[in-house]
Amino acid sequence: MRIIVPLKQVPDMNQVKFDVEGGRVDRSSAGVEINPFDLHALEAAIQIKENKGGNVTAISMGPRRAESSLRDALARGADNAVLLEDRKFAGADTLATSYTIAGAIQKLGAFDLIICGEKTVDGDTGQVGPEIAEHLNIPHIAYVSWLEVSGETIVARCEMGGRAYTVESAFPVLLTVTKDVNVPRLPGFRNKITARKAAVEIWGTRELSGFADISRCGVRGSPTRVHRVIIPSEENRKGMIFRNTIDEAIAEIADNLLSRLN
């Protein structure tokens, strides 16, 4: 079983600072980590490998420092890692990101399964997974909360439109997983040391030539543009705060509640 896990390095959301006045996101204020949802994707891939045999390739598009997240993925059990890094990949929206990653997957050769996270915490779109599937012309199952590989097929459960569907697919297929799918393991200490020495392949536009057209990568290949960023400040509310006066507060609030509901 050949499994590919696209994962993204993201800022640690609890540390990023948002400058309300300047409308700026200060990513440098925060550490980086593997997108939390992608850890579940990686864990799912490793579990399938452990049960059925095969290998897991982690792939990421981002700046050079994203190499550290790929090493982390190796320490958690991935067998190979590829970083897609090139100035010409920068500024990509989901269309260009998915196109570039799909190109790299084609260069990697035959595969059975691609497992993505449900979404990233910075991009927040959940689109890159299904978009990769469309570029590769394979089916996908999104928002998977449970899965089982049995012989020639995979069975996965996902929730949509107030229903839970159990879906079966042959390979190749792409899944996007939610955090209900498993509990990711921590990297082992010994593995961390081996991973530090392991090779992360770095591919740029040159390595992808024949698999991806540069004009469809990065900012050039991105039809959407962010024109403005606003960091909302808290709006004005009535702001009637009661301290040490619970009874008075209850009276006021209960009356208000009841008058609004009648």
Partner: protein, 326 residues
């Protein structure tokens, strides 16, 4: 192809039941189409759904493209995609919007790639600016930022969050055309082996929400909130930590990675007010907060705040309401 600018709305249905977000999209779509002096069309794929197609007209559509086939009773991804892509190529809409539901996002992403166009996810605002540009507004960075996005390719595609747009009142005098389209069937590749209806707690539709957070000491204490909710015909909500601890089901979660809600009254008990929580409830009409910590950020957006212990305040509130009603 006419030169009129067309706005197209995907009407999402599951087993014949229309998802109410479709009406919200039509409400917004009508406004956009009118500003562009264009038309509003809707695409409906389903089985025996002519009545629903009329409902789409009553809610604002000038035209409904109806694909009627049993394959559309279920979530037949590749068949939905194939037929919607064909339609988009034929009518060349200027704007194409879908609900930011699991189904809308999953399907919309594939359609956008097939059409070679951009897709803006999970929008909370759609506008036509002074120069006639379509501006898509969406939260990013876990809801901490609002980005204004424009798309240079056509159609300009977006998915839109539930409960942020307003549907138009149903008007049976509204006129529109139902256009039946022929269906092309593709090999589906995915087989649905089982389907269960989830007993949904539709918190997004609740008028009153009583939410609990990490300030609760144990799972059983949600019953205190349920007592209050029972009195007010309210729905119980939650911040993320109780959901993560397995104290309450994910359907109750309010916030960035849960549900967006817009009730008349939102009561937050033992919730600090993280940006991710606020992202899901800041549009509530009235916000009431109970928290022991006077510096909790939830107080910044509260209309009424009680600095105090929820275990004291909630029972008192229950008692007071019972007394008022007696």
């Amino acid at each position: 192809m006419s030169t009129k600018k067309e706005v197209m709305v995907f009407a999402e249905q599951h087993e014949g039941e229309i998802n109410p977000i479709s009406y919200e999209l039509l409400g917004k779509g009508r406004e956009l189409a009118d500003k562009l002096e264009g038309g509003l069309s809707s695409v409906l794929l389903g089985h025996k759904m002519a009545d629903v197609a009329m409902e789409l007209v009553y809610h604002g559509a000038d035209r409904v493209y109806l694909y009627d086939d049993a394959v559309f009773r279920d979530l037949n991804l590749l068949n939905y995609k194939h037929n919607m892509v064909r339609l988009a190529r034929e009518i060349e809409p200027e704007i194409f919007i879908l609900g930011a539901t699991h189904w809308g996002r999953s399907l919309g992403a594939r359609i956008a790639v097939a059409l070679g166009t951009g897709l803006t996810a999970d929008c909370t605002g759609l506008e036509i600016d002074r120069n006639g540009n379509f501006v898509q507004i969406r939260p990013a960075f876990s809801g901490n930022v609002l980005a204004h996005i424009r798309t240079k390719t056509r159609p300009q595609m977006a998915t839109v969050r539930y409960k942020v747009m307003k549907s138009l009142p149903r008007d049976i005098n509204r006129k529109g055309e139902i256009i039946r389209k022929n269906v092309e069937i593709m090999p589906s590749l995915l087989t649905i082996v089982r389907k269960e209806r989830l007993d949904e707690v539709n918190i997004a539709d609740a008028e009153v929400i009583i939410s609990g957070g990490a300030g609760l000491k144990k799972a059983e204490d949600f019953s205190l909130l349920a007592d209050l909710a029972g009195l007010l015909e309210a729905t119980v909500g939650s911040s993320r930590p109780p959901v993560d601890s397995g104290w309450i089901k994910k359907e109750h979660q309010v916030g960035f990675s849960g549900n967006t809600v817009k009730p008349k009254i939102y009561l937050a008990c033992g919730i600090s007010g993280s940006s991710q929580h606020l992202a899901g409830m800041r549009e509530s009409d009235v916000i009431i907060a109970i928290n022991t910590d006077p510096s909790a950020p939830i107080f910044k957006i509260a209309d009424y705040g009680i600095v105090g212990d929820l275990y004291e305040a909630v029972p008192k509130l229950i008692e007071r309401i019972k007394r008022c009603r007696a």
